[in-house]
């Protein structure tokens, strides 16, 4: 028996033993900063309020044995194993909103082919009016509908148009307010190949305002209104809009560097009886939006 195989087998020993072995160690630290890193990579920002959900074929289908089609185009997987396509130096990562369509969305036109995994070739489509998106026609696997009882009806493997989003936009919660762009502290990144902000700025803003606050909006801030939802993966534009959902936004005319968006969340720890709702605000900081 191969040692690697045996190591795999040992991976499946009783969960009780795995848990038991960790018992002496109890310390756990808060690691939300790590989450920021993860937020960027994870496939996975929400598919909120939907009746049907779809899942794009596993990245393993795509990122194994990636071939570069030509000097301008390459389809590959980014560092986190999520499918991505690079066109003229811009990297597009598969949408975190599982944007998969049977029909090619309007305005997009065939622009070329990217070869994936040797022989297979995937067509991609662009729209000059929406340079932050690219659609790739590819095979998708688990693609089904979820009924009210939570039962998923699968669809067989089939071709579909999958949206890829500029990595500088993908998964970023943005608000446009009075012509300025704000990015959620949850999605602002100061690292990676295309950081949103500098680390100095990020650290400073985090120190001053945090990421999310609980309770009332800080003094001096007043309601700007409810941001218009411009759609998932979009760059919000206009007086007050958001690309995550319609949000109540608070601003302080004397301090344009930060705005607050109303939010709530739940906790349910052992100490609590049932769920506790928390009301508060996500912190959005002024930033230099590359899509401005």
């Amino acid at each position: 028996m191969k040692k690697e195989y045996f190591a795999d087998v040992l991976g499946d020993i009783s969960e009780d033993y795995i848990k038991e072995a960790m018992k002496p160690e109890k310390a756990k630290s808060r690691t939300w900063v790590k989450w920021a890193a993860i937020a960027a990579c994870a496939a996975i920002v929400a598919v909120g309020g939907f009746a049907a959900w779809r899942q794009i074929s596993a990245p393993s289908d795509i990122h194994a044995g990636v071939q570069i089609a030509d000097s301008q185009t390459s389809e590959t997987a980014d560092s986190s194993g999520i499918p991505s396509i690079t066109l003229n130096g811009t990297t597009y990562i598969v949408s975190s909103h599982a944007a998969v369509y049977d029909e090619l969305p309007e305005g997009f036109e065939l622009a070329g082919e990217a070869s994936i995994g040797g022989d297979e070739s995937y067509q991609y489509y662009v729209n000059l009016d929406v340079p932050e998106w690219v659609y790739v026609y590819q095979e998708v696997t688990t693609d089904g509908t979820l009924d009210s009882s939570g039962t998923l009806t699968d669809r067989a493997k089939h071709g579909a148009y999958v949206r890829y989003v500029d990595e500088r936009l993908r998964g970023k919660a943005l608000i446009s307010f009075e012509g300025k762009f704000y990015i959620s502290m949850w999605s602002a990144e100061y690292y990676g190949s295309s950081p949103d902000v500098t680390q100095e700025y990020y650290d400073e803003m985090k120190e001053l305002y945090g990421v999310r606050i609980e309770g009332a909006v800080p003094e001096g801030f007043r309601l700007a209104g409810t941001a218009e939802f411009t759609g998932e993966d979009t760059v919000p534009t206009g007086e007050l809009s958001s690309n995550t959902s319609p949000l109540a936004v608070y601003y302080n005319p004397a301090n344009p560097s930060v705005i607050y968006a109303e939010t709530y969340w739940y906790t349910a720890t052992k100490e609590e009886k049932g769920e506790t709702r928390h009301d508060g605000f996500n912190v959005y900081i002024l930033y230099d939006c590359p899509f401005n």
Binding site: I18, M22, P24, I38, A39, S80, Y260
Partner: protein
Amino acid sequence: VKGKISEVKPLDDEKIVMLYWDRDEQAIPETAEKYGSYCTAIARNILESREDAEECVNDTYMRAWNTMPPHKPSVLSTFLGKITRNLSLNRYRRNTAEKRGGGEAEAVLDELLEIVSDKDSTEQELYRKELISEIDTFLGTLTVKKRGIFVLRYWYFESVSSIASKFGMTENNVSVTLNRIRLKLHDYLLERGFEL
């Protein structure tokens, strides 16, 4: 103007799993908050490169997102840990194929050579379940401490020195204990007819 960062306690596992089932993005930060360091520790034990380890942990969340639903793990920590362990071992293999090995994994895998022959076997998949169940039975015969030492080494890929400090033992003592358990396990499985 200064807001205060809210102190939010980690969610119960059941709640986190529910977030996955609800396809709620919050599942990821909650998972990272609660189990990020746990998964990172496993990946770091197996992989020398911090970058590789981080990628495996990120992939763990994605894998979790893709498997829940329909999966509903009873123990979220070990469910995630197993994914991280698998991904990290796979990455390790790829790296060694590219001659970029190293790390604790190499030492741990070499120690396993005292239990198995490292020869290819075609039938092993057929009795994998039985093998796991016999290993579980064997581990059940050990004291909690010895079992802990074994699991930390061969499941978590912890270094001998780290195990030693956890149990207040000398490194030599840990090595000797591991050595004895390996031999016992080897004999135990051989007696039960497994082709090692």
